[in-house]
Symmetry: C2
Subunit: 418 residues, 2 copies
């Protein structure tokens, strides 16, 4: 496309692209934007290496004029968007990219990869957080998604309200609290469960979490308290019929004098099984597959569309495709969240054309993310990740209570064009 | 775990871990192993950098003895496994890792991340390939998965029988044929659809593929043939009611004398919609979201389990956990595929203990992948990827016809322990 646009003289036309989702996947009531901070860093360093350019040349993918253009590539445009952690609805213009056609269109795959994956994880994770009713959740799903997606998933889950991750790289790169756990292999490595527990307590202290379902849960809980004493930090249960098992283990621990020993469960949990454990004496959850795969909706369905461009005379033209079922709304958009007097969200209002000054009952949703090629520093790195987590908490607090119903339904507030 | 095992003197115990799946996701009849070649490269270069070690030290994740051990880490053990591209069934021992406990357990997350994601994509892609009945498929889903998972997905889909990918990095890194396409934004960038088509044909020649559903398909097909002539390579349809639309466009192209112009469709396809287009005059498919997200099963459900280890006296002990619903089968395994006289697969037979010499009707399934730390060169890089694609074709050709039914069902052959 860039090759052909350079030849036809249209590659430099000032253009506005928009990222949005036509619908929320899985009959969810709201989505959570994640990936923005990661994306800003990736756009800031988006370059073509000599090795890449040589390959493109050897394979005749583009001509020499385009190769030169790629060699000099550096995004110099501007981007506005929903702050990371913001909630969103169908049609919400999550990212607004302004630049020449060529410099903006080339970011499509990168922007969508990052936002679709990270937002899918965050949107699922936020439902698990509300299902957990304040009990902490740890993300433990690195092994169930691609090795670099695993790091992104840990970050997205943390933004959505998870407390920690087992992914150490996510801890190092994004400042996310990390936690570890012992696997069944650690118990099986030793000559007996007792040897394994003694080895773990010797290394980690009695505050550690012992895995009690390798052989027989009741016997293992007795052994755990015998070895670590009533100061035992927690026991982990990774199999079995959870609500009954958890209650039985709680009674057993209390009977052994280990009233402060916590119970953590980790058996293929998702938002529904977490909600089903609300009445059980669980202290924390470890979640794997379901959170890193978006709990049934592994891609958020976001698209990257041209919505306006200048013509040869420099006038802005709104553009939209009219494909059946996939029509787009042209033109630059200025979204606000309409709030009731008590501060509850009532509608997503998307102003077309000139920006409306938001009144007290309307919260503007676009913030500058990249200004003339420079990513906004406050959204980057570990600080940006922490900011996104705080923003998510505030944005979710505005939602009406029906937002937290787990069953399939419509978005909890309507999207209205104004 | 490594920290505690070093202290308890068990970290060096020779151990055997196994990767397997308890079941096939989504009621599928068979799975396709992918990711092995990628994994061998990643294990070969698995090291801890100074920056990583410093972080682990500062965060007190492990003690100094373990830090030293990590600083020297290099996998020196051996790995056997199913050749990449092989089909698999519940219980198939896909990877057998032999090394000290510590050097093997540390690979768990990496091995599972790579194999779970890549095999999920390949298993879905193989069904799309059979549903397409010989028509070529292009992988176009980079934007619907994490940015590095996208490269892995392109590779896995190619191994499973896709013909090409739109991911240029996958072309460069793994030697996969690449293809491109024009988006709606390219049409909307120009002052008219005619200008856009002329620009594309000028840059790419009449053999290009023109996207005809930005405004009105019938008008666009007329325009496309007017501009490119009957040598027009193809038209792409990305929306609408596909079977009827495709038939109408075929009649229109034939009526315009463009009998050789092909039709490619790309509208949210999966194995079911591809099968539904069997009677329509489609020439090729572009598949995005469904293939890179495993078409409903985004993780293959593989686990990494200790199955044997030596005791303090150096004797091998088979180990297994007995958790409810998650019990494992201990001991080293030697799997073979049992074949009928005509060469059709009839069972997955997993020999426990000493290897059985496979007779003419039994194909041994384990091949050496890493020998004392050295990955087998023939499985690496672009050559390894091509080899995996060829092996997949041969392995799938052995399956009985019922393997290609798309409905939910049991594995097409039983798994038997012997």
């Amino acid at each position: 496309m860039i090759d052909a646009a350079i030849r036809s003289g249209t590659a430099d036309r000032p253009s506005i692209f928009e990222v949005f989702a036509r619908s929320l996947p899985g009959g969810r009531r709201y989505g959570v934007v994640a990936g923005t901070g990661r994306l800003l860093e990736l756009i800031g360093e988006f370059r073509f290496t000599d090795a890449e350019l040589t390959w493109l040349e050897n394979e005749n993918v583009v001509d020499t004029v385009t190769l030169d253009w790629l060699a000099d590539y550096r995004f110099a445009g501007s981007v506005w968007g929903y702050q990371e952690g913001e909630v969103y609805f169908p049609g919400s213009p999550l990212l607004v990219i302004e630049g020449s056609f060529a410099e903006a269109v080339i970011l499509e795959t990168l922007a969508l990869s990052v936002l679709n994956y990270d937002s899918s994880v965050a949107s699922a994770a936020a439902r698990m957080v509300s299902a957990a009713s304040g009990r902490p959740l740890a993300e433990m799903g690195s092994r169930r998604t691609g090795e670099w997606s695993a790091v992104a998933a840990a970050r997205a889950a943390y933004i959505a309200g998870f407390s920690a991750t087992s992914n150490l790289q996510a801890g190092r790169q994004w400042g996310i609290p990390t936690m570890g756990t012992a696997a069944h292999s650690f118990t099986l490595l030793h000559d007996s469960e007792e040897d394994a527990f003694r080895a773990q307590v010797a290394a980690m202290g009695p505050g550690t979490t012992l895995l009690v379902d390798t052989y027989d849960v009741t016997a293992a809980v007795n052994l755990a308290v015998k070895i670590a004493g009533p100061e035992l930090g927690a026991v982990r249960i990774d199999s079995g019929d959870l609500p009954e098992q958890v209650a039985a283990v709680r009674r057993q621990l209390d009977g052994l004098g280990a009233e402060n020993t916590k119970i953590t469960v980790t058996n293929d949990l998702d938002e529904f099984t977490i909600a089903a454990l609300r009445a059980a004496p669980v202290d924390s959850y470890g979640v794997g597959t379901s959170v890193v795969t978006g709990s049934g909706s592994p891609a958020a369905g976001m698209v990257y569309k041209l919505v306006a461009r200048q013509d040869a005379a420099g006038a802005w033209i709104s553009v939209a495709k009219r494909s059946a079922n996939k029509a787009t709304v042209g033109g630059r958009k200025f979204p606000v969240r309409e709030l009731s007097a008590s501060g509850t969200a009532t509608a997503e209002v998307i102003h077309l054309g000139s920006p409306e000054l938001a009144t007290g009952s309307q919260r503007p949703l676009l913030v500058p993310l990249i200004v003339e090629g420079e990513p906004e520093a406050r959204f980057l790195g570990a600080d940006g990740t922490a900011l996104a987590r705080a923003h998510r908490a505030a944005a979710i607090a505005e939602l009406p209570a029906e937002a937290f119903r787990l069953g399939r339904g419509d978005p909890v507030i309507p999207t209205r064009y104004a």
